[in-house]
């Protein structure tokens, strides 16, 4: 031990006079009521695994994709509550202080991560309860414009592409991390959680194969997207997608129309297609009518058409849209 001098020690003693005993940690507040997840069918025609009378864990989800996974994996043992209204977008939604205090009390907070739930940057959530389901995955780093001011030097506010759920394989990996967290917190439910994961695995693997088969013939197309949401989707299915980062719902600028025309001119209309994440403005729609094909696809951030969020159904709707373009 390196103690500098006796003088330091005595100075320290003076400081230490402010010290006193601490009590043992206390338990958090009791969970509030929340909807329990559905019991898991065991498969093979067997009855569903028995769920406990009361939920064992209280889990809050921070976005729709994370919430859907928790609902599917909860096996009736989880009281899941969504922090955010289902139709809100994490990039713009902000919680109240009271909502954050309530979130501090749950057993587990499940998030998509990769910067998707931006509001968590401005809130004080318990780090030990926060499960970032994408933290260990192969995330795609995106560059933003760098700037500098003050002492901070040159920096960028870019980060990771967030839409991991558009790659069903990555989404399944996220499901596995949630499953592992459930088992760690509730070992008694390991069998039920395992059965739920197995069922989900079958569905997501099947979906991934369906999408791959549908998109295989479309790999030669030069895709133009209105928004940089498709990094993982493009990587998984071998597509080339250029994001222009435009607001499809706004009147198109002359530059945009020119860019689209340029892209079309570079190939032919059959080799270029436009992916839109929202219904296009009539002017843009008119411009696209005689040009390359365009699809309004669902990025699965919010439920489709005001219904409940259903990843499989919404993703299959996307698949059907792409299938319409197949030769």
């Amino acid at each position: 031990m390196k103690l500098r001098s006796a003088a330091t020690v005595f100075a320290a003693l003076a400081i230490l006079l402010g010290a006193a005993a601490c009590s043992a940690p206390e338990e958090g507040a009791a969970p509030a009521a929340a909807g329990a997840t559905a019991p898991t069918p065991s498969g093979d025609g067997q009855p569903a695994l028995e769920a406990p009378a009361e939920p064992v864990l209280r889990v809050a989800t921070l976005s729709n994709p994370a919430d859907w996974l928790v609902q599917r994996l909860g096996a009736g043992r989880i009281a899941a509550e969504q922090a955010m209204p289902a139709d809100a977008r994490p990039a713009t939604w902000r919680p109240t202080a009271d909502a954050v205090v309530a979130l501090q009390q749950v057993d587990l907070l499940v998030m998509n991560g990769a910067g998707y739930e931006a509001w968590t940057d401005q809130t004080n959530l318990p780090l030990s309860k926060l499960l970032d389901t994408s933290a260990e995955l192969d995330r795609i780093e995106i560059q933003g414009r760098t700037h500098s001011h003050g002492d901070g030097g040159e920096h960028s506010h870019a980060g990771f592409a967030a839409e991991l759920w558009l790659d069903p394989d990555l989404y399944l990996a996220q499901a596995r991390s949630i499953h592992d967290a459930f088992v760690e917190l509730d070992a008694d439910g390991a069998e039920a959680y395992g059965a739920a994961l197995a069922a989900l695995e079958t569905e997501l693997t099947g979906l991934s194969a369906e999408l791959a088969a549908t998109l295989e013939p479309l790999r030669g197309i030069q895709w133009i997207a209105d928004h940089p949401s498709f990094h993982y989707f493009a990587r998984r299915f071998g597509l080339t997608i250029e994001a222009l980062d435009i607001d499809a719902a706004a009147p198109p600028s002359a530059e945009l129309l020119s860019a689209l025309a340029e892209k079309s001119a570079a190939g032919n209309d059959a080799s270029v297609a436009v992916l839109l994440t929202s219904k296009p403005h009539p002017d843009l729609e008119a411009a696209l009518r005689d040009g390359p094909a365009h699809l309004v696809v669902d990025t699965l951030e919010v439920p489709a058409d005001g219904g409940d969020y259903d990843y499989l159904a919404q993703m299959r709707a996307n698949r059907d849209l792409f299938a319409g373009l197949s030769p």
Binding site: M1, K2, L3, R4, V9, A12, I15, L16, L17, G18, A19, A20, C22, S23, A24, P25, R89, P90, A91, T92, A97, V101, Q104, G115, W119, D121, Q122, T123, N124, P126, L127, S128, A135, I142, Q143, G144, R145, T146, H147, S148, H149, D151, G152, H155, H157, A158, G159, A162, A225, P228, S229, H231, A234, R235, I241, E242, A243, D245, I246, E301
Partner: protein, 432 residues
């Protein structure tokens, strides 16, 4: 009346007849008894109190360096650590147990502001007496003593202390919201403000809010020294997306070259904007601008002074110590060991004092004996008279012995009472 009763009666009368002599004898003896009694008990109390805080803080992880500085900073919020540790290390430490970040680099009205995570309050048994725990960026809670001293209550706002008067481009004071006051715990926690570690990063400028940096603004900043040009309508930052916002919701008018598509991303010179230190940084967090606050760089690279780790088992505790013993940059400090080392100095001092107290006791005994001898000489005539009226030698000896016993008992009682009073005052001082 019995012989003992007679002796007690006469001894009492004799002591009362010589009040000053008796008082001096009692005082001198009491001091000789008080000094060792109080010193040993005070050392034991100090040891118990300090070790209790240390025992409740199993392992502190920080950069290699002075273990004492690290312990003082992490447990008592005093002093600074020489080098910070990246926040990203928390992920690895979390495998061993609860890893609580501690960033004690700023103050409010001279009181340390502890940047940590919300689990700290549970881990230390801290409860809110008024208001609530911090939930949003820029919110703090005050320890019981701080709140009493500064007369704080939820809803008050406090400005953080200026850390560098001459660095206008660096961090600067921010207005923080006091949202709660903690119940007194009798620990150093009573004398500090607490906030989320992100709020502490806000104070060193790493997490900040400013107007949107655009090429136009940068050009204005260089080309037009007029401050009004910088603090114009756009300065509120309300109308633009935060720079730190994810690319999922970019501004509608973002130029095409900013698009972060799968391919064709330019990273040329034109993608860097230098906006100078004159950019308008928000000096307080409001509901309107809270969303505009964002991190410089990765959260994982952000600094904290140390991590307080509460291992989930003895095995994990030992594994963590073993892992850190081999680490090139970081060290694991057991505060108990550090405090015990400090206390060893105290114990050595106490041993040294024991010899001194023995000397004092010896001199007091000699003084007592001298006073008794002189007193007996002065009372020779009185003794002679007692002999002549039929009092035996044994009776006279019993009388003198009773007087001595009464003086000693009175001195011991005085010493014990003074010692207890001193310990009570010390305990009160330790508990703040």
């Amino acid at each position: 009346m019995s012989a003992a009763g007679d002796a007690l009666f006469l001894a009492t009368k004799s002591l009362r007849a010589s009040k000053w002599r008796s008082a001096i004898l009692i005082f001198g003896t009491a001091v000789a008894a008080f000094l060792p009694l109080f010193t040993f008990k005070a050392a034991a109390l100090l040891e118990k109190t300090l070790l209790a805080r240390a025992a409740a803080s199993p392992v502190v992880i920080g950069q290699k360096g002075d273990e004492f500085d690290l312990t003082m900073n992490a447990l008592y919020f005093r002093g600074q650590v020489a080098e910070s540790i990246p926040f990203g290390e928390r992920k690895g430490l979390a495998e061993y147990g609860l890893a609580l970040p501690l960033y004690v680099a700023y103050s409010i009205s001279g009181t340390p502001l502890v940047g940590t995570s919300v689990e700290y309050f549970d881990a230390r048994g801290l409860e809110v007496a008024e208001g609530r725990l911090p939930a949003l960026l820029g919110e703090v809670v005050a320890g019981a003593d701080v709140a009493a001293e500064l007369e704080l209550e939820p809803g008050d706002r406090m400005r953080s202390d200026l850390t560098n008067l001459y660095n206008l481009a660096g961090s600067y004071p921010l207005l923080l919201d006091v949202v709660g006051v903690l119940r007194p715990r009798g620990t150093p926690d009573d004398g500090a403000f607490f906030a989320d570690v992100k709020t502490a990063w806000m104070l060193d400028g790493r997490l900040h809010g400013h107007e949107e940096v655009t090429p136009e603004l940068a050009e204005t900043a260089y080309g037009d020294p007029d401050v009004d040009a910088l603090l114009g309508d756009d300065a509120s930052g309300d109308d633009g997306d935060p720079i730190g916002a994810p690319e999922t919701d970019p501004p509608d008018d973002a130029p095409a070259e900013e698009a972060a598509g799968e391919v064709e991303e330019d990273e040329g010179e034109e993608d860097h904007i230098e906006a100078t230190a004159a950019i308008f940084l928000f000096a307080e967090i409001t509901a309107e601008n809270r969303n505009d606050f964002h991190m410089h760089g990765s959260v994982d690279d952000a600094p904290v002074g140390s991590f307080l780790v509460l291992p989930r088992s003895v095995k994990r505790h030992d594994q963590l110590l073993g892992e850190m013993a081999l680490h090139e940059k970081y060290q694991a400090v057991r505060p108990v060991t550090v405090i015990e080392t400090v206390l060893e100095i105290v114990l050595r001092l106490r041993d040294g004092l024991s010899a001194y107290f023995a000397l004092v006791a010896f001199s007091t005994l000699a003084f007592f004996g001298l006073a008794l001898t002189l007193s007996l000489r002065l009372r020779r005539d009185e003794m002679m008279l007692m002999r002549r009226i039929g009092c035996g030698r044994f009776r006279i000896a019993a009388l003198i012995g009773t007087e001595v016993a009464l003086v000693v008992v009175a001195a011991v009682v005085t010493a014990v009472l003074a010692s207890e009073l001193g310990l009570w005052l010390l305990d009160a001082a330790l508990r703040g």
